[in-house]
Symmetry: C2
Subunit: 419 residues, 2 copies
């Protein structure tokens, strides 16, 4: 169980200037994206910095669903700025970009691929000290403020990959629920699906004592340790909040209780999966977003086609959990029950089907597109989707059930239509 | 939510040498008590240090229920040894003593009272950097491996007090459930009551947004923040484990599932109360143990009279929760339900009585002494017990219900007999 330091409360964002002053920081980089740059969360951060007389530069060029190129642009900015601290204000894209900027500015001689997960990158361990990074999440999905993960789209391979190291975990997450009030309907839905899958995948991930290889020295343990009694607490708690509040948060932007609860659930699930890991939904999602053709998700104000991360993750969830259930059926049934299924007469051998049906109903109620076909894929794309999944070993190897390429094909095939 | 770094698993103790080597440590102090010095947990630590060629000195003079004098003895040892790291192997007494030794060896000019909580001590903030401390708990109660708290008996005042600072929180807790197998019956019972009260008190503590004064600068926030949505998760989860496993763990030393679960529950409750705080049961417990006359608890191999901490905390719990219930009756009822009460027909106004009755039955089933009278107190002692509670403001001010001296007297009076 690695550490995550978060502070929750309305208006905690206003404290960021004092936090930086307490840390003795004098030259701060504020990272965000162009949409957010004009919105209250960024204004609250800048006002706090001004009030506390802290010099800062704003980088608002973060790409929503970042790429290696957009990472490099932020890294160059950070390297030139010689900042002593960072504040990331945004969703997962902003926080992940800021983690990368901090890492590579602290290690100016390193190439991007040096710290990227093997086999795509070299997967070198991070040994340099990083500067403080305070994360202020404005979506309710990624949990990136609690994790040592930074994901980007490696354009050459048309697939997402990332950096995973406890060293890049933010120093502090400021969880200010007021920031959720500006989120459009589909953004809250899709980011909520990310929380849903973080919870379900980390709860059903390979147990920590069955993971291999088992390094003899604790320092060699991966960031993702497999499901364990500590991450289980967070996974189930976050799942209960999703079950209770996600529909309300999506359907009514004025339902503060629901939106505030989802904001915390995002961090909770982050602490869980940031230690346990995720598996097939996430592993398969990276090519689904990476290979996007023309699909443009509603409510995302960006200039490029996009299958938002949370949507790309959840579309395969019914197929994935049907497939994995045989390895830990009790956990799959328990998850279905938390999500509202009546499991009193369910048979243990049907656990996968029960959870899959529960998820389909949940997604249907939330107007989710009808499967991969609805976001532009046909069966002809399956080989490319499988090929993009294979390098995602860091997560797919945490699947409780091992899988062949043919089985991955079947999972994509079964995800073409949901209803 | 401050951070706690724990690692759980059978035999994780064996990794301590590698952890210290990874940290570059060369001269390590191992702290324990005389009973434990001969037992497997300490042997496992020493073997690991030898295997990893780390120089160490053993201090086995920790007093069970430490005092200012026993703290000072350990501090002198630490100051002379010029250690670069510490390993504490034991229960709360050992871990707390080791935290103090690390703190005052790192601040050699400081007097003991400098960092002790006001009003007994000066309550100075800790600004010196401490050395790494790895905690290996061998009881299942204190949660001290996750907290920034060190408690001792200040003999001049006949009352317990302590040091509370995030700075003294252990670097890492190694939660090795195998260590619970050697615990005698009453030790597992009494340490389990500590978990029970950590959970109940932190769940019912004054909510974080109602605590005052509310410092404008986050650095001035106290270690104990009041109940909050994060500590609530830990409190309830730990309480569920206590409800399910404590009786089994006490009654059958071979019930590994129960003993292992209680070991984790102790850490979970620690993360909860270490952030939220405890209140009246703990505040009132300090004079109950501090003023002990001749009572010698079964299964404690010590040379002095002793009311073990967990017992001193739980004896007032029926009276305390009857008193506090009116401020958050739903939480009191919920706790009673988790502990096995049928609350379907319970009235909200009876929440305190329902929880108190549930606790009395729980304690009776576990052969707990019948109240303060059974550990040697009479009504004539009440003024002294109240006087010893008054300086425990750090915790008592987190009670959801404010209280006069007369009300404290009534709580002690009501705790003389339980059944």
């Amino acid at each position: 169980m690695a550490v995550s330091n978060i502070r929750y409360g309305e208006n905690v964002t206003k404290e960021v200037g004092m936090d930086l002053q307490n840390l003795g920081m004098k030259n701060v980089c504020v990272m965000t994206d162009k949409n957010l740059a004009q919105l209250p969360p960024v204004r609250a951060v800048l006002n706090s910095l001004i009030r506390n007389k802290i010099n800062f530069s704003v980088y608002d060029n973060v790409r929503v669903e970042p790429t290696d190129k957009s990472f490099m642009d932020a890294i160059e900015f950070a390297r030139k700025g010689k900042f002593d601290a960072y504040v990331a204000v945004g969703g997962g894209s902003v926080m992940d970009t800021c983690k990368a900027a901090n890492l590579y500015a602290s290690s100016p001689e390193s190439d991007l691929l040096d710290f990227v997960n093997a086999p795509i990158g070299k997967g070198k361990p991070v040994t340099v000290p990083l500067n403080p990074l305070i994360a202020v999440p404005t979506t309710s999905g990624t949990g990136s403020e609690t994790t040592g993960i930074a994901i980007f789209d490696y354009e050459e391979l048309n697939a997402k990959t990332g950096i995973a190291s406890r060293a890049i975990k933010p120093t502090l997450g400021l969880i200010d629920p007021l920031h959720t009030l500006h989120m459009p309907e589909r953004v809250i839905a899709n980011s909520g699906f990310d929380v849903l899958c973080h919870s379900l995948e980390s709860y059903t991930a390979l147990p920590y004592h069955m993971r291999s290889p088992c390094p003899t020295n604790p320092i060699e343990r991966p960031t993702y340790q497999g499901s364990n009694p500590i991450s289980d607490v967070w996974a189930k708690h976050a799942l209960r909040i999703v079950a209770k509040y996600l529909k309300r948060a999506v359907k009514n932007p004025d339902d503060r209780e629901a939106r505030f609860s989802m904001h915390l659930a995002s961090s909770f699930a982050g602490i869980g999966f940031g230690n346990a890991g995720v598996h097939l939904c996430h592993g398969m999602s990276y090519p689904i977003s990476g290979l996007v053709k023309t699909y443009r998700a509603k409510d995302y104000n960006v200039e490029h086609p996009i299958v938002p991360h949370g949507l790309s993750v959840v579309l395969t969830s019914p197929a994935v959990f049907s497939f994995t259930a045989s390895m830990c059926p009790e956990r799959h049934l328990e998850a279905a029950e938390i999500l509202g299924a009546d499991i009193r007469t369910a048979k243990i051998k049907d656990a996968g089907l029960v959870l899959a049906d529960t998820l389909r109903k949940f997604l249907f109620d939330l107007n989710v597109d009808d499967g991969l076909s609805a976001v532009g894929y046909t069966t002809a794309d399956i080989p490319a989707l499988v090929k993009g999944t294979l390098p995602q070993e860091r997560v797919t190897k945490l699947s409780p059930r091992s899988h062949s390429e043919d089985e991955l094909s079947c999972l994509f095939e079964a995800s073409m239509k949901l209803y």
